[in-house]
Symmetry: C3
């Protein structure tokens, strides 16, 4: 059975950066399945990348190697990490992009990549090609985690932002906006499962409809629902909540119940 | 030999939706070739998705499983279909996105997906992940069509729009606009093969040049030609007919002959 | 071991053109690894495509087949080429898109594709599907180069643009702009390795900082550095040099040293 390597970056599709990483991987380990998660994270937006990873990494086969390269500090002395959880591996710069992984797996084993014999010659600006891709490939061909790095205790765990309860209301944040313009909050379905939501206030808009699916609402009208990732989101049926309501990540949302 | 699964969606590349579907597939059937057809269909535009599929599905090896997820009605009670033609399988929501397939294969066998043991836990908003991807994977690993669903006679066949002949003119529609801004009509080359085209009228523009290839026309000037898909299209050499002539899908076109 | 085929085009991701090429390839040679380099080259920009290829082709395993389809002259009588260097194969239209390959490999063997039995039926507008993809697939399944075409001596070598030294300054050009808005010049690191750069002038902007990596500069400020491809580039840390400084390909740059 092939090992699987996934790639999640902010490299976009315009340049051959992602293709280059695949060439590096295939030169080291020919029999590997490489899957793109997304390469369209806004340049440098580690929190959006962290959430995108959180929504999908656990749908992959056991032992999948997830490589995340959102790396605004490339070339500086930030560390490069290899993280092992019960089922998966994660290879990424040390900059919060694994904040959801550390949140869900507080016992994850964390290694710093310090074995240049498993790197290409290291440039100052493209560690995806020179460090992250080759280390993933060597891991996929069977090199042990302890041979690729050393145990590390100082690293950036990240901060997911807290949801506060004030009276009969939850105060949260927009943490991610998807391609359809749906605005995802940091309020998880488990936090609202026992209450009856009446409305949400966000940037001067009041949303009164809590739906199960988008087309339950009239086209062009706004709604709340629990997205496929398990978080409350603000949407517009057959429209864009981002555009229609002027939303962006970081916006505060207040959700009231009866 | 690997089975091949193709994916055609309106999910875009910004979010890891497509990557998630691939994770689901690889968790069920590791040895499969997954090919992206396109994920940039305008959100919810089932007719554009239907035409895109029509132009390419038959270039794939026999037994390829084509998965199409353009699904504005996700979560409502629309059916999920599995369609078998002589050479291929198609898995899609019941909403016209297979209209060209039904048009070309009136004898296709149509099944409704009703066996939740082959689904993931089903969310209200992401059946690509929860229904379409896992069913495709189970089909690829050898589960029989009759085990995945039951025969279905009530489903949406779709409507391709008719081309009318009035005197020495064909009246058709723009049905698809490609990345280069070429505007594809629903007039097939077989409908004009015996006549000598003189001009086309579209949105107040008159196009007088009928060419074999784009660069036969002066750069920046408009032309007609038969595209690689076999349909008449309106183009601008080294330019965009969509932008230069203000075209969009649904626009009427009248083609005259001598 | 799988053969590897890479695809570099200006087809974008909106239409299923690239997916169609993959279907053609997999119908001819099922066990092949297909890697996308980029499909977002500006329509018809053979020089941008040529540079993108130059930055990445050598990261792939030996015998990789690189297929490049930026083909504004499709349908005209331009030739189709198959080029063999010591380690790789290149299949492309005869239009400068291999200019960096010919520059680096003056002894490359060049063949014209003239064996229609290895093509699909040839349309006027989509030779990626009808010629380039099937020839790549036949090469991957073991057909010899001499069987696919005949030796060719008349072909377009291309022109990379020269860098001139005038006093203590190099005069070069912007040849590529990447997704981050970094503007790549045609000045190679080897041309500036023995001097101490003081500043660069470009479109009325003066850049005084020569850095090793982007985040060495204050956010929002411009800098020069040697990019991961080995060429001098103009960048803005956490910003876009293209937007902030109004740069485009073809712009002249003058780099001074002390």
């Amino acid at each position: 059975m092939h090992p699987v390597i996934t790639l999640l970056t902010d490299f976009g599709h315009q340049d051959p950066f992602v293709g280059t990483m695949k060439g590096v991987i295939l030169s080291i380990v020919p029999n590997v399945e490489i899957v793109d998660l997304t390469h369209q994270i806004s340049p440098g937006d580690v929190h959006a990348g962290a959430f995108a990873l959180h929504t999908c990494y656990h749908y992959f086969p056991e032992n999948t190697i997830h490589v995340i390269v959102i790396d605004p500090g490339v070339g500086s002395n930030r560390q490069a990490l290899l993280v092992k959880t019960e089922r998966y591996y994660f290879i990424a710069p040390d900059n919060s992009v694994l904040e959801w992984i550390f949140h869900e797996h507080p016992d994850a084993q964390v290694y710093c990549l310090n074995r240049p014999e498993y790197f290409l010659e290291v440039s100052h600006t493209f560690h995806g090609r020179d460090i992250f891709a080759p280390v993933a490939a060597h891991l996929a061909r069977g090199i042990q985690v302890d041979d690729l790095g050393e145990k590390c205790t100082q690293f950036i765990k990240g901060d997911l932002g807290t949801v506060k309860t004030l009276g009969k209301a939850l105060h949260g944040l927009i943490i991610y906006i998807d391609r359809f313009g749906n605005a995802v909050t940091n309020i998880h379905s488990s936090q609202i499962k026992d209450v009856s939501i009446t409305n949400a206030l966000i940037k001067g808009n009041r949303i009164d409809s809590f739906c199960s699916y988008y087309s339950e609402q009239t086209a062009g009208e706004s709604l709340m629902l629990v997205g496929s990732h398990g978080y409350l989101e603000i949407a517009v049926n057959r429209g864009s909540a981002q555009e229609n309501l002027g939303l962006q990540t970081g916006d505060q949302v207040v959700v009231h119940w009866a």
